[in-house]
């Protein structure tokens, strides 16, 4: 293991960005999944396509669109400039890039969880006089927990590995936006950086394995608790 202080910074930064992106996306992901499962409206197919789009678009394309929108000459960029907020080439841009590419994964998992909810339960809740938001938070939310945890861990893992969109909109700035994949890319571009690159790759694999194990364990625990 050959990790420099810069590498440790990259690892901590990756975690920070992945956690922030996941937490930020959870409420939106939950709301979107709920809309897609429990609500019917015209143009629903369009929403489904839009939500799934980042899954099929090359991440570089997503990053480029984000850059065009939030950059100096974009709408979003103009608004941010007026508010005095620096966005491009900061860790906030990295969070938005990760959130965008991971969002479809989050929604997919929550959706799957919600679709398996027995429809009679929220119906019963409503027929007993609960408001729609009461039903949402006391019936639907607890029953969607497994889907939310599955989605969050998938999204977290995806954010840790996000490269294309991040490098375009957040740049490769050591200590500020250089996450694990960007650091590996830096080392891999140089023929003398092989052992450093391999060490970081090892860390990347270890993190992914831990997340996936946690995902399975927590998922099983929730399952047994529900059956009890």
């Amino acid at each position: 293991m050959n990790l420099s202080p810069q590498d440790i910074t990259a690892i901590l930064l990756s975690m920070k960005i992945a956690v922030t992106a996941t937490l930020l996306s959870l409420p939106f992901g939950f709301a979107t999944a709920w809309l897609m499962v429990f609500r019917h409206f015209r143009g629903k197919v369009l929403l489904e396509v839009l939500v799934n789009l980042p899954l099929t678009l090359p991440p570089v394309v997503i990053g480029y669109f984000l850059l065009l929108f939030f950059g100096r000459n974009g709408w979003g960029g103009a608004m941010l400039k007026a508010a005095g907020i620096e966005f491009i080439f900061t860790w906030k841009a990295a969070v938005v890039a990760s959130a965008t590419v991971g969002f479809p994964l989050l929604v997919r998992s929550i959706r799957l969880g919600m679709e398996s909810i027995d429809r009679q339960l929220p119906q019963a809740s409503r027929s007993l006089g609960a408001t729609w938001y009461d039903t949402l938070f006391t019936v639907v939310l607890p029953l969607s927990l497994r889907g939310m945890i599955a989605g969050s861990s998938l999204m977290f893992a995806r954010s840790l590995g996000e490269f294309g969109a991040t490098i375009i909109v957040a740049g490769n700035i050591p200590g500020v936006t250089q996450t694990i994949p960007l650091a590996i890319y830096d080392y891999a571009s140089s023929p003398t950086g092989t052992s450093m690159a391999l060490s970081l790759c090892g860390v990347s694999v270890a993190l992914s394995v831990i997340i996936l194990l946690l995902h399975e364990v927590i998922g099983k625990q929730l399952e047994t608790r529900r059956e009890a």
Partner: protein, 252 residues
């Protein structure tokens, strides 16, 4: 269906054979790996050479010299290598991948700071006023290494460390400066001459860094390629030198 049972394996075998057939190298093909800053000059030279030598095709690969050296080390086909610093030529020479006798200096260049920022920048010390500065990643981009060297020798490397955006080659640096997303970048004077929005703010004093030189050599495979040797000789000639001069390279 019975007929499909016999046809499927044959179809698959045919597809595999097609995929595995190596594309034969065309007669008279020269592969050149050159530093990103040489793009326009080499493109023009290649066009002129192939116009005069029908039957020769020149395949060009531009990128950061360190990345190119890594590619060649790992077996990427290349007959001629032009690096933007001595480091990567020496690296491949040590690995015995280049023809040592063919080593020559192709051209020289100057390192400048160019940007579209409205702040007043006239020297190295003014850089501390800026927010973001793009440099080629020093691990593989010579322009970045020269820039780091200049910052270290000015005593500014610690102050500027958090402002640096790493680019994969000097052209990406220029793009960052052009887009305005960084206040400015360290590029070569020849790159800045191509820029539209980014202006040269100052030339980095030569005493702060090793001289920017483009050493070149034939690879071991290139030394056995007659067309490669012909092109290699041509790019040292008068016509090539006037192309270099046109793009702002220094010849001595």
């Amino acid at each position: 269906m019975k007929t499909m049972q016999f046809r499927m394996p044959r179809i698959i075998a045919a597809l595999l054979a097609l995929m595995l057939t190596a594309v034969p190298a065309m007669a008279g093909q020269v592969s050149i790996s050159a530093a990103a800053s040489l793009k326009e000059a080499i493109n023009e030279m290649a066009d002129k050479f192939t116009a005069a030598h029908a039957g020769t095709t020149i395949v060009k690969n531009f990128g950061a010299s360190g990345a190119l050296a890594g590619q060649i080390e790992n077996g990427a086909p290349s007959d001629i290598f032009i690096s933007a610093s001595t480091e990567w030529i020496d690296y491949l020479l040590n690995k015995k991948m280049l023809d040592a006798k063919s080593r020559k200096n192709f051209a020289y260049n100057a390192l400048v700071f160019a940007g579209a920022t409205t702040k007043k920048v006239s020297g190295m010390s003014d850089l501390t006023k800026l927010n973001r500065i793009a440099i080629g990643s020093p691990k593989s981009v010579p322009a970045g290494e020269y820039a780091m060297e200049s910052m270290k020798n000015s005593g500014l490397d610690k102050k500027l460390a958090a402002k640096l955006v790493m680019a994969k080659d000097v052209r990406e640096c220029l793009t960052y400066a052009e887009m305005g997303e960084v206040d400015g970048s360290f590029v070569y004077r020849t790159d800045a001459m191509q820029a539209k929005k980014a202006k040269i703010r100052f030339v980095v004093p030569e005493k702060l860094h090793a001289r920017v030189v483009y050493p070149m050599a034939l690879t071991v495979s290139g030394a056995g390629n007659a067309d490669a040797k012909a092109f290699f000789a041509w790019i040292q000639g008068g016509e090539a030198k006037s192309i270099l001069k046109k793009y702002g390279f220094i010849l001595k």
